[in-house]
């Protein structure tokens, strides 16, 4: 499974929605994530990709969309 598919799986689990937003669509504006779901999303990303996301990287804009999350995960490799 590629990174995007793994991110989508996590997003579906956290958002409890079966649909998938466009890769560049804001996860907040489209209602997939809110302030309280975002920390759960970050924790699941850490577990799935076996990375530790430092608090200094916890800028909501980095996790604004699927493509931004994908870019961030790539940058951590």
């Amino acid at each position: 499974m590629d990174n995007r598919a793994r991110i989508i799986t996590i997003l579906k689990n956290v958002s409890k929605k079966d649909s998938v937003p466009d890769a560049d669509e804001s996860l907040f504006d489209s209602g997939y994530l809110d302030s309280f779901a975002l920390p759960d999303m970050v924790s699941d990303l850490e577990r799935e990709f076996k990375i530790k996301i430092p608090d200094s990287d916890l800028n909501p804009r980095k996790f604004e969309s699927i493509s931004r999350i994908e870019s961030y995960i790539e940058s951590r490799k």
Binding site: S35, F36, P39
Partner: protein, 309 residues
């Protein structure tokens, strides 16, 4: 070594239900309850000050401790909503309690100020003797400034909490505390003079969701304790969803976190001490019970304290 002698609290009389705020913000009462866990909050009277509320909470605390202001060697007053730049409310509070001449220190800290004051008092009690820590906030004066921001206005209320920390050993022993600050996030939650409160809600929640459990875990680990062994968590009452998230992160039931946010909203630095005052009065902890305090607030400042009853 230091111990918690007593807590006290004061809540203003005026109750502001969600329907009153919702009508001004074009939101339903249920929406406010859903996003915050808050059903109503208290607003101080127009002429009621941060110092007025602090004195009321301090009097309740002194009475429960069986002490008078003359028994206090140092006053610490935390507030992020004091009416003026200086002097802060601390010397006014000490003077009005009848302790003019005693040292009185202001902590101009929102939300985290109560716990930071307690941690400092635990260290200073050996020098100053009994220390009265008060946290008092008149957030209504801030959040009702026009234009009202709905994400902010629904959250906050007014009130004050207090505790007395004394040197020595005995029941309610302060075991340890951890304090942290990171000014890199200073812009994400700030209150400029005469301006509305500015809050990057996503950043605040994201950081708080990580830093509060992290501070609690750090504290428990270095004292060789498990979260499941704690009797009660007394946390800053910021948002019920945040409290639930911290419980999840620590893998303990949310019921282990005392919550009064439904009735008072977020009273910033006062909230944890108000919660502690209520819980202590209604539960009378048994010897050996572990109580864990935790806060997070503008700065960012965050920390935790472990107490053994």
């Amino acid at each position: 070594m230091a111990v918690l002698k007593a807590f006290g609290a004061y809540l203003p009389a005026r109750i502001v239900p969600n329907r009153e705020l919702g009508a001004k913000l074009n939101r339903t009462p249920d929406w406010i309850l859903d996003v915050s866990g808050i059903e109503e909050r208290r607003f101080a009277a127009p002429d009621e000050t941060v110092a007025d509320m602090a004195v009321a909470a301090a009097c309740a605390c002194l009475e429960r401790a069986g002490m008078s202001a003359g028994d206090i060697g140092l006053f610490i007053v935390a507030s992020g909503s004091a009416e003026r730049r200086f002097p802060g409310p601390a010397p006014t509070v000490a003077s009005r309690l009848g302790a003019a001449g005693a040292p009185a220190i202001d902590l101009p800290m929102a939300s985290a100020g109560g716990l930071f004051g307690m941690a400092l008092a635990a260290q200073l009690a050996g020098v100053y003797g009994n220390i009265l820590v008060v946290a008092s906030e008149k957030m209504s004066a801030v959040v009702t400034r026009e234009p009202m921001e709905q994400g902010v206005a629904i959250l906050f209320g007014d009130g004050a909490g207090a505790c007395i920390i004394s040197p020595g050993d005995g029941p309610a022993r302060i075991v340890d505390s951890v304090l942290h600050s990171d000014g890199a996030f200073a812009e994400d939650l700030r209150l400029e003079f005469e301006a509305p409160l500015a809050m990057n809600g996503r950043s605040v929640i994201m950081q708080a969701s990580r830093k509060i459990p992290s501070a609690i875990a750090e504290l428990l680990e270095r004292n060789h304790r498990q979260a499941s062994a704690v009797k009660i968590f007394l946390m800053h009452q910021a948002n019920q969803n945040l409290i639930n998230g911290v419980a999840r992160a620590l893998d303990v039931p949310a019921a282990m976190f005392y919550s009064n946010i439904r009735g008072y909203g977020n009273t910033s630095s006062a909230s944890m001490l108000i919660a502690a005052s209520e819980w202590w009065q209604s539960h009378a902890p048994a010897p050996g019970d572990l109580i864990c305090f935790a806060v997070f607030g503008a700065g960012f400042h965050w920390g935790a304290m472990l107490v053994e009853a």
